[in-house]
């Protein structure tokens, strides 16, 4: 397939978005709906709530822990094969669990196997959306990520109905069939080779600075791409190392640490909002309503924030929009112990839900900005992997805090501070970068600020100053290697 001149920003891209939307429904929404089965499992196997709730933790954890594996497979084989394989695995897991004879059987089939299947689908699908969109990237992600909210909204009553009609065994069997639709999504993920990965100078100069990401892309593509097809062992290792060298990028390391803290802060809230509301005297119906508000506003936040950050005025400040969303979430958490009545908790649900949807949409966008499109798949795998440990650790720690201190204040404060720390870390890193750059630019202030572009057919030079001399050499070398092909 001939490389395209840029991401299509439409056309087949919308089919990819639809496919990713369905993937999010089949993975995230189904994971959330598994908790509907717990009452049935408790009654049938005679176990208590804690042991049954392990299933949900295992699925979530497996989905996130194996995310790098998913991106590895989709990078080396093909995105389509990766997602279809994931769909088959997840479906098999659900079908096997419909014949379960014990809770341990469920841990393995419903927990590990299904979680692994979901992991193989989730991050490659999201990375694919990033490849197909540039100008409308955030909106595309918003629509794709809203699948988890909309899916939960629709699937929850449907799963309840299935359980009433067919009991949990039949419901799991039919759910297994539903999850098989992941194979359809996989078939939709037509691979795309972007010329953008071997960008020429004019394209680079459209942005106000040359992101390091593009330089890395150039390095990587020129070495790896002809060799990927060869499948020899040594170059596989070499390529794998090259694939993951974004890990050493300072920008990515900062992002990784902030994601750790952010995931630590946001996960206990979904678990403990309802018990907290009940403890301050809100009724069961109202507490359930709070969760519904959270879910619906999450969807709205996904789509609207995606659309907003695609506007030209906000596009340059996407990073800050992400920090803002995470910071606002943290602030909401800090206020939560003060909110003790239902009329006060409703605006909290609205705000928290909106910004939660907002930052979830922006995670892939920000990651793409930091590492570039070609290694987006692997980077997303690592980012979601970093979500796994806090998701596993944070709710029990919060629960322990609640038990020892006797109130929810300490755990909510911890969550709030964790998220605020995450956003301030990113903020400082960004500011530091800016200061460094303006400092260096002030050194070369005497050179003209205009960019001179000389083109000679396929080779484009640009000399903006002594500083960018290295960039110019780089471009000349690499574009010539491209033209030799």
């Amino acid at each position: 397939m001939a490389p395209r001149s840029g991401p299509p920003d439409g056309g087949w891209g919308w089919m990819i978005v639809a496919g990713c939307f369905l993937v999010t429904i089949c993975t995230r929404a189904v994971t959330r709906c598994i908790s509907i089965f717990f009452v049935e499992f408790q009654a049938y196997f005679g176990q208590d709530y804690a042991r049954t709730a392990w299933i949900h933790s295992i699925v979530d954890c497996a989905t996130m822990l194996c995310a790098p594996l998913g991106s590895l497979i989709s990078n080396h084989v093909s995105c389509q094969v990766g997602i279809m394989l994931g769909g088959l695995l997840a479906s098999t897991g659900l079908i096997l669990s419909s014949f379960a004879a014990s809770l341990e059987h469920l841990y393995l089939s419903l927990g590990v196997l299904t979680g692994l299947g979901f992991a193989l689908c989730y991050s490659p699908a999201i990375a694919m959306v990033g490849k197909y969109f540039n100008k409308r990237k955030a909106l595309a992600y918003g629509i794709a990520m809203s699948g988890s909210g909309i899916g939960t909204f629709i699937l929850a009553p449907v799963v309840q109905l299935l359980i009433e009609q067919f009991s949990w065994r039949g419901a799991l069997l039919i759910l297994g069939g539903f999850v098989l639709n992941l194979c359809v999504c996989g078939a939709l993920m037509r691979p795309i080779a972007l010329k953008e990965d071997r960008k020429t100078a004019p394209g680079l100069l459209e942005q106000e600075y040359v992101p390091e990401a593009q330089k890395q892309d150039l390095k990587r593509m020129s070495i790896c791409s002809p060799l990927i097809k060869a499948w020899s062992h040594e170059c596989l290792c070499y390529c794998s190392w090259k694939e993951y060298d974004f890990l050493l990028m300072p920008g990515f390391m900062v992002l990784a640490v902030s994601v750790l803290f952010m995931a630590y802060g946001c996960s206990p809230l979904f678990v403990y909002l309802v018990p907290y509301a009940l403890s301050v005297g809100v009724s069961h119906h109202q507490a359930a309503f709070l969760m519904s508000i959270l879910g619906v506003v999450d969807i709205i936040g996904n789509i609207t924030f995606g659309w907003l950050t695609d506007r030209r005025c906000l596009k340059k400040y996407r990073h800050f929009c992400y920090l803002f969303a995470v910071g606002m979430d943290g602030l909401c958490c800090l206020f939560l112990p003060v909110l003790q009545t239902f009329p006060l908790l409703v605006p909290f649900s609205f705000t928290f839900g909106y910004f939660d949807g907002a930052y979830v949409t922006l995670i892939p966008v920000v990651t793409a900005d930091v590492v570039g499109t070609s290694s987006l798949s692997s980077a997303l795998g690592v980012v979601y992997f970093l979500h796994a440990i806090p998701y596993l650790v944070s709710p029990p720690v919060a629960g322990w805090l609640v038990d020892t201190t006797g109130s929810y204040t300490a755990s909510f404060l911890l969550c709030g501070f964790s998220m605020i720390f995450s956003s301030t870390l990113l903020c400082f890193a960004r500011l530091a970068k800016k200061i460094k750059r303006t400092h260096l630019r002030s050194l070369t202030n005497d050179t003209h600020s205009k960019h001179h572009i000389w083109t000679n057919g396929a080779i484009a030079y640009s000399v903006t100053g002594e500083l960018d001399q290295k960039d110019a050499e780089f471009l000349a070398v690499d574009t010539s290697s491209y033209s030799n092909r």
Binding site: A43, F166, R169, V184, L188, L278
Partner: protein
């Protein structure tokens, strides 16, 4: 998750006898037209809630407590209100009931200074009966009283009748504004409906239904598959029965499930004192039907109905296979579409290349056959 603690508290706080004092106040504001009539259902609901919530309102240890607490002031349309007061002291006229003696002292718990005062201010139309449901699980002494509001003490002589079902009760205790009867409920025959009718200018009546606790069951049928095991659960929230019995229906008969039946097919388990489970193993389609669980209380028995449905594996398999077929069809369609569009692209590329070659050829021979090329192009 918070549910189990309710049962623990209640079973601790009810040893021995409970003394219930129910007062009913009827009050009629003079000439308020178009007042909302209270439907008996509404009254029932809240009263039931109030009454059954009675033990759960006590938050301290299972030992009998003497905390005073006002529960549930509710109004409908501003004209009707009721509240339930718990406490050792209550501002009711009438005898001090905490020192009443009971029969069967062995079960008496004297430190239980715990009684209920129940007031209803009613301003409905005459003839509308207010219905109260009272749940009793063990023998108690009860005093039921109808109380009239103070502003009607000057009204003309009223005739008050207490009835159980249709027979009139003779022994009515009268104080200045209230008429009460004392009852010892010791067995099932004493339960029933007691009504108090106040006949003055207008007629008011209140009906008390004394009943055994109801069994809590899932009203939806329990669905299982052949060869699987089923668990049927019956709960008696708030009250602990003396024993549980399970019945299965065979045609129109109810057969008790006990040791005479196959032991390896039925397993009866009493997980909590007020929860019972019937586990049926190796299900077949013959096990499909209605099952009854019966709780025996001191004052009577109460039944709950459960439906069991046994399905074959083919039933969920059909939708599953339908979905799998849909997935296979969609994947095939998408792949065919991709192959088709690839072929079309290739064809377009080949055509483009062909055009380019033609152009190059015509450019090469440009200088010589200039005019003829132009002609050809036309």
């Amino acid at each position: 998750m918070p549910a189990p603690t309710v049962h623990a508290r209640f079973s601790g706080s009810r040893p021995g006898r409970l003394l219930l004092l129910l007062c009913l106040c009827l009050s009629l504001p003079g000439g308020s037209p178009a007042d909302l009539a209270v439907t008996p259902q509404d009254a029932n609901q809240t009263q039931e809630n109030s009454l059954t919530r009675m033990p759960t309102g006590l938050k301290s240890s299972p030992e009998p407590m003497t905390t005073a607490r006002t529960v549930n002031r509710q109004t409908w349309g501003g004209s009707i209100s009721d509240h339930l007061t718990l406490g050792p002291e209550a501002s009711t006229p009438g005898p001090d009931l905490t020192t009443l003696e009971f029969k069967q002292d062995t079960k008496l718990n004297t430190s239980n200074g715990f009684y209920v005062e129940y007031e209803v201010l009613l301003s409905g139309e005459s003839g509308t009966a207010v219905v109260k449901n009272i749940t009793l699980d063990s023998a108690v002494r009860i005093e039921l009283s109808c109380k009239l509001d103070d502003k009607y003490s000057s009204a003309k002589v009223l005739q008050v009748t207490w009835k159980k079902g249709n027979e009139t009760i003779g022994h009515i205790n009268k104080t200045e504004n209230s008429w009460s009867i004392q009852l010892t409920i010791s067995d099932n025959s004493k339960l029933g409906s007691y009504s108090c009718t106040v006949q003055g200018e207008e007629k008011f009546s209140v009906v008390f239904h004394l009943q055994v606790p109801k069994i809590d069951v899932k009203d939806k049928p329990v669905i299982t598959y052949e060869g699987d095991a089923a668990v049927l659960v019956c709960k008696s929230p708030g009250y602990t029965p003396i024993s549980w019995t399970w019945y299965m229906t065979n045609g129109s008969e109810q057969i008790a499930i006990n040791d005479s039946l196959l032991l390896d097919k039925y397993v009866i388990n009493r997980v909590f004192p007020n929860v019972t489970q019937l586990k049926i193993l190796n299900l077949t389609s013959k096990d499909d039907g209605v099952y009854w669980c019966e709780a025996a209380f001191e004052l009577g028995k109460s039944k709950g109905k459960l439906k069991l449905k046994v399905l074959s594996l083919m039933v969920p398999l059909k939708p599953f296979l339908a979905i799998v077929a849909e997935v296979v069809v969609l994947v095939a369609v998408i792949f065919l579409f991709e192959i088709y569009s690839k072929r079309r692209e290739k064809r377009a590329e080949v055509e483009k290349e062909f055009d380019q070659i033609e152009q190059l050829k015509s450019e090469e021979s440009n200088g010589v056959e200039n005019s003829s090329t132009r002609h050809r192009k036309v």
